[in-house]
């Protein structure tokens, strides 16, 4: 049985099936996941890696296509056999399975032990290299069909859950209600959006007035910026306005750092080290041009972390900076001339009045009145009646 490397296997699949390396790797992983090929080194992780790690084809005897159902008796025999070979060789999850099977297959345990002993004896009669290979194959088979289960995971979880800080229902439910009350007038299903809901009137003015780079935003939009720093920053137009304020205060470095940290967090893996380096030079290094003022401990941890940058290396610093802006800068912005200025300038669009026109019944009544007037005006004159009317008036 020969060994082959991951990258050789992937190249072979790619060539044989006339497909890309990506596709071949995906296909290779399926072959490993379902037990046609098994990894030699990291035998618990059933994936095919495009590197020099080693794999071997599984013997057809153990292929899923044999449609042999891997039942509990077989698994019990396998575990018992391993126990005979050497005591204490079973992994904890296997030991747990063994104990469980011993209990519920107790009625046929003699049979199981006998089978295990037979197989063990037969194995001993094979040549050592063959025996080693067969053991690998059998282990790989059971890795696919009885995958390792993490048993105490749930207990650890419950312990953590018990210790996690919780809030009284009245407090958290109160917060949900408060959110609804705050945003009620901004919810197009609860209050009309001005000038009109595009879906209802087929007029997209609402979207045009609220575009990313409008010079003058609407009153509703500006009001929403005051709800939270998160809202202000999420709306890029609001963020622009906040930047105008920060420039006047000469304190733009906090927001700039926050933006850079966001780009690092959500960017491509390959760009991370370059970004980390730039951020360090610009914001964190002693004497940096846009040095941010964070506490010594956070600065220390961050700088150390930047030696081996990862996606969340700036998390602590970013949170610190965000809280600073949230608790102080944001409120000063709301009281500032910058914000008050944009509030005053903001547009309040007139609601679209797409009236459905005058009702047909009214139109018909008007029409009848006109007809009657016209009929009266064109009727032949009754001279006698008119004369007597004039006489009577005299």
């Amino acid at each position: 049985m020969c060994l082959h490397t991951g990258n050789d296997t992937i190249a072979w699949i790619s060539n044989k099936m006339k497909t890309t390396t990506e596709e071949a790797q995906a296909f290779g992983t399926m072959l490993v996941a379902y037990g046609y090929i098994y990894p030699l080194q990291n035998h618990k992780k059933l994936v095919m890696c495009n590197d020099s790690s080693l794999y071997r084809f599984q013997t057809p005897y153990f292929w899923p296509t044999q449609k042999w159902v891997p039942d509990d008796s077989d698994y019990a025999i396998y575990l018992a056999k391993r126990n005979i070979r050497k005591k204490g060789v079973l992994e904890p999850y296997e030991q747990a399975h063994y104990n469980h099977l011993h209990e519920w297959l107790n009625h046929k345990w003699d049979f199981i032990v006998m089978q295990a002993a037979e197989q063990y004896k037969a194995g001993k009669e094979r040549k050592k290299p063959d025996r080693v290979v067969f053991d690998c194959q059998e282990r790989a088979y059971w890795m696919v069909n009885r995958p390792p289960v993490s048993l105490s995971n749930s207990n650890m979880f419950y312990q953590q859950a018990i210790m996690r800080s919780k809030v009284k229902s009245s407090v958290s439910l109160g917060a949900l209600v408060k959110y609804i009350t705050t945003y009620k007038n901004h919810d197009p299903f609860l209050a009309s959006c001005l000038p009109s809901n595009p879906w209802q009137t087929d007029h997209d003015a609402y979207w045009t007035l609220n575009m990313r780079r409008v010079e003058v935003p609407t009153k509703m939009r500006v009001e929403r910026w005051s709800f939270s720093l998160f809202e202000l920053l999420s709306d890029l137009r609001g963020r622009d306005d906040f930047k105008i304020f920060l420039k006047k205060e000469f304190s733009g470095e906090n927001l700039a750092f926050w933006e850079a940290a966001e780009e690092l967090k959500w960017g491509t893996s390959s760009s991370m080290s370059t970004k980390a380096e730039t951020i360090f030079k610009t914001f964190l290094a002693p004497g940096a041009p846009r040095w941010i003022n964070i506490d010594g401990r956070t600065m220390g941890l961050t700088v150390k972390g930047l030696e081996h940058p990862h996606r969340y290396v700036l998390e602590a610093a970013q949170t610190h900076v965000f809280l600073l802006m949230k608790k102080d800068t944001f409120f000063r912005y709301l009281k500032s001339p910058t914000y008050k200025d944009i509030q005053k300038k903001a547009l309040n669009p007139e609601p679209h009045n797409f009236s459905p026109g005058i009702h047909p019944i009214i139109l018909w009544q008007q029409e009848e009145e006109e007809k009657a007037k016209a009929a009266a005006a064109s009727a032949p004159v009754d001279v006698k009646a008119m004369m007597s009317k004039i006489d009577r008036k005299k």
Binding site: E22, E23, A26, A33, Y34, K44, K45, L46, V47, E91, P92, A96, H100, M143, V144, P147, P148, V149, S150, L151, S152, N153, F157, Y158, A161, I162, R164, K166, V167, K168, S169, S170, V171, S172, L173, A175, L176, V177, Y179, I180, T181, Y183, H186, D187, P188, F189, L190, N197, P198, W199, W207, N210, F230, E262, K265, W266, T268, S269, S270, R311
Partner: protein, 364 residues
């Protein structure tokens, strides 16, 4: 397990287990801890949602109608997502077609045919420049969109995620560079789009994971998933750990969606109920159900303020719930088969539904 039978799925990674622990011992410990957790939760439960809601004004009558009907799919519509421009959408169907529409004009702008059927998941990239989709191919692929109508989108397709069973849901994070996926293989995973590298995997569900939603918070580091194991799990994206878990539904959870503040989430299940979970109080706080509603909920979403919860159901209807008072405020008819997907638009002006009747509808 939901759409096709498959051999037992292999685990992608294992965790360390302490020695000399037997199954029985762990089980008793588990039960004790579970009841202690319930005790702790009950101590803090000083008021019900509907009590708090008594002081809130009632809702008026609603007139919600179908404003657009999008026809073009040749088979069951399985999923849809909105573009950040508030008018474009992407939808996917059972016959492998993925279509990008300008829902306002009802024009189809792009169409791609996937090499597999049952495209159960699709998502629009935050930039509006790409879409992601996948399904029975066990993968999530990204298609960059082009202004050139004649360009063959399939040529630029990029395979990103790879699972060992069907892809049930996918979502971009805050940028076009990362995708979060959930799968019938029982796991969720975070991927780097450029390299296709697996950044983090999330293990904890005991069966197919059917849905996920990213938290709309300032930190943006958590997401919630729902599965066939009736559990809704909240995950930390950085560590891969499950930080909260809720198991109150009586059947598969088909849809999960965060409340707009990020402090709660709603779920929709085959047990015909929608439920609201408060993350800070760590408990279920509302059940939205009616005796007359006996069919499963496929998809849920909140209106902009969080006051309304829209649910698409397998009995072809949409039920609109008052989140605070727990009552149903409206029932909408129109689709001629199951409603399979429902999303509110980014500015809350409308919601879109997709159905097994091959159409999508915009409601406002």
């Amino acid at each position: 397990r939901k759409y096709m039978r498959s051999p037992p799925t292999p685990e992608m990674a294992t965790q360390e287990v302490p020695l000399n622990e037997t199954l029985a011992h762990l089980k008793t410990e588990s039960e004790t801890l579970k009841s202690k957790l319930e005790e702790e939760r009950a101590k803090l439960h000083d008021v019900e949602l509907h009590q708090v809601a008594e002081k809130v004004e009632g809702l008026g009558q609603f007139v919600m109608k179908t404003r657009r009907t999008l026809k073009g799919h040749g088979n069951k519509v399985l999923c849809m997502d909105w573009c950040k421009d508030k008018r474009r959408i992407v939808s996917s169907s059972q016959d492998g077609k993925v279509i990008v529409w300008d829902a306002f004009t009802t024009n189809k702008e792009h169409a791609v045919t996937m090499p597999c059927t049952w495209v159960m998941a699709c998502a629009y990239a935050p930039s509006g420049c790409a879409v992601a989709c996948g399904g029975l191919d066990n993968k999530c692929s990204v298609y960059p969109l082009s202004l050139d109508k004649n360009e063959n989108l399939a040529a630029k397709k990029k395979s990103v995620a790879m699972h060992t069973n069907y892809l049930s849901a996918c979502s971009f994070t805050n940028s076009d560079m990362q995708i979060l996926t959930s799968s019938g293989d029982g796991t969720c995973a975070l991927w780097d789009v450029e390299s296709g590298q697996l950044l983090q995997s999330f293990h904890g569900h005991a069966a197919d994971v059917l849905c996920l939603d990213l938290a709309p918070s300032e930190t943006g580091n958590t997401f919630v998933s729902g599965g066939c194991d009736k559990k809704a799990n909240v995950w930390d994206m950085r560590s891969g750990q499950c930080i909260q878990s809720f198991e109150t539904h009586e059947s598969d959870i088909n849809s999960v969606r965060y409340y707009p503040s990020g402090d709660a989430f709603a779920s929709g299940s085959d047990d015909a109920t929608c439920r609201l979970y408060d993350l800070r109080a760590d408990r279920e706080v509302a059940i939205y159900s009616k005796d007359s509603i006996i069919f499963g909920v496929s998809s849920v979403d909140f209106s902009l303020s969080g006051r309304l919860l829209f649910g698409g159901y397998n009995d072809y209807t949409i039920n609109v719930w008052d989140v605070l008072k727990g009552t149903r405020v409206s029932i909408l008819f129109g689709h001629e088969n199951r409603v399979s997907t429902l999303r509110v638009s980014p500015d809350g002006t409308a919601f879109c539904t997709g159905s097994w009747d091959h159409t999508l509808r915009i409601w406002a």
